[in-house]
């Protein structure tokens, strides 16, 4: 086995979530029982899904992510920063500063607020809030 490229593309949580969900659904359709024939795959897929279900990616869709990326075009963020915005869905200035490097120098306070507003507007709310019976405000 040879590794051609160990760092190909970076995937967002949503992409992995969707793929694994498809994989498990295929299993349900009963082509072959995944849990019996491929225990390793079934285990890791199940555990990863369980983790991802608790993250904001659960409520995302390609349209949502595309819309968000379009809206933050003018902020000159790096790819990694945008990815983390989508994966973590930060809603406080502290979290923003954490994700965006040198945010004090690169962004003004208004821009940070703007960015938070965009995150809240485009990316659906955290599942935890949904549980509390409070969908998008």
């Amino acid at each position: 086995m040879e590794v051609v490229n160990s760092k190909g593309a970076v995937l967002s949580n949503w992409e992995v979530f969707g793929l694994l969900k498809d994989l498990c659904q295929q299993d349900v359709k009963g082509r072959r029982n995944l849990a019996k024939t491929q225990t390793h795959l079934a285990n890791i897929a199940f555990d990863t899904l369980k983790y991802l279900e608790k993250t904001p990616c659960r409520n995302q869709s390609p349209e949502v992510i595309h819309g968000f990326l379009e809206s933050v075009k003018d902020f000159k963020l790096t790819k990694a920063e945008k990815l983390q915005l989508i994966n973590l869905r930060p809603t406080t200035p502290v979290e923003m500063q954490l994700i965006i490097e040198d945010s004090e120098e690169r962004l003004t306070e208004e821009q940070v607020d703007q960015l938070i507003a965009l995150v809240e507007h485009h990316l659906p709310d955290n599942p935890q809030h949904l549980v509390n019976g409070k969908p998008n405000q």
Binding site: M1, E2, V3, V4, N5, S6, K7, G8, A9, V10, L11, S12, N13, E15, V16, L19, L20, L23, T37, Q38, H40, L41, N43, I44, A45, D47, T48, K50, Y51, T55, A80, Q84, N87, L88, T92, V94, E95, Q97, L98, I99, E101, N132
Partner: protein
């Protein structure tokens, strides 16, 4: 957090899979071989993403299986440096905190990567952040099971392919095997604004929410 790794491999398809299409058989074999395993310097393999090229199949003398050269992309868990992740505290010791993501739990936050003014409480066996405001000190405990946010600062791969038999005999090797070399370890830090327990940074909101809910109930 997740990446695609491109790998080339000669896949051996045993005769009992000949009933399926080549594609299905290759997918099954690759997932059986790689899922939930760590590949050195690549990361923890999750599931097959796609097959990019499928070569000709060969049969070798003395082996009923067919061999096919396949290039494919696999989803691997490998957070990049400085990435911020959220997990759950699995255990605490004087050396630091171990964090679990559910599917992966070899994440360590060492004692020197804690918040400044942190100490390890021997009686409770937890780490405590002594957060100082102007007039008082708050002791913020990091209990097991709490949600924690951390930043990746280092990763370490170890080659765990079995070498020759150990020279030292007996108990030593047994205990070594029990401890097990970790094939892939990640080191995190929580020494920054916004890192550490998630509740530290959202507390005010939560309180507000609770108040709101109470008010709602009263109205009802």
């Amino acid at each position: 957090m997740f990446q695609l790794a491109e790998i080339r491999h000669m896949v051996r398809i045993p005769p009992w899979l000949f009933g399926q299409t080549l594609n299905d058989a290759v997918v099954e074999e690759l997932n059986r071989k790689l899922a939930n395993k760590v590949v050195l310097n690549v990361g923890l393999c999750i599931a097959l993403f796609d097959i990019t090229s499928l070569g000709d199949s060969y049969i070798f003398p003395g082996d009923g299986a067919s061999h096919t050269r396949v290039t494919f992309r696999y989803i691997v868990f490998r957070p990049f440096m400085e990435e911020v992740l959220e997990g759950v505290i699995k255990s605490c010791s004087a050396d630091g905190i171990q964090v679990s993501l559910g599917f992966y739990e070899d994440i360590y936050i060492r004692h020197d990567a804690m918040m400044t003014n942190s100490h390890f409480d021997e009686t409770d066996r937890t780490w405590v952040w002594d957060y100082q405001t102007e007039d008082e000190t708050h002791h913020l405990y990091m209990d097991i099971g709490e949600k924690i946010r951390f930043k990746i600062i280092a990763e370490q791969f170890a080659d765990t392919t079995p070498a020759g038999p150990e020279l030292t005999e007996g108990i030593d090797t047994a205990s070594e095997r029990k401890d097990g070399k970790k094939p892939y370890m990640i080191y995190g830090t929580i020494n920054d604004q916004g890192l550490g327990l998630v509740s530290w940074w959202t507390n005010s909101n939560v309180e507000e929410q609770v108040n709101e809910e109470e008010e709602d109930e009263e109205v009802e």
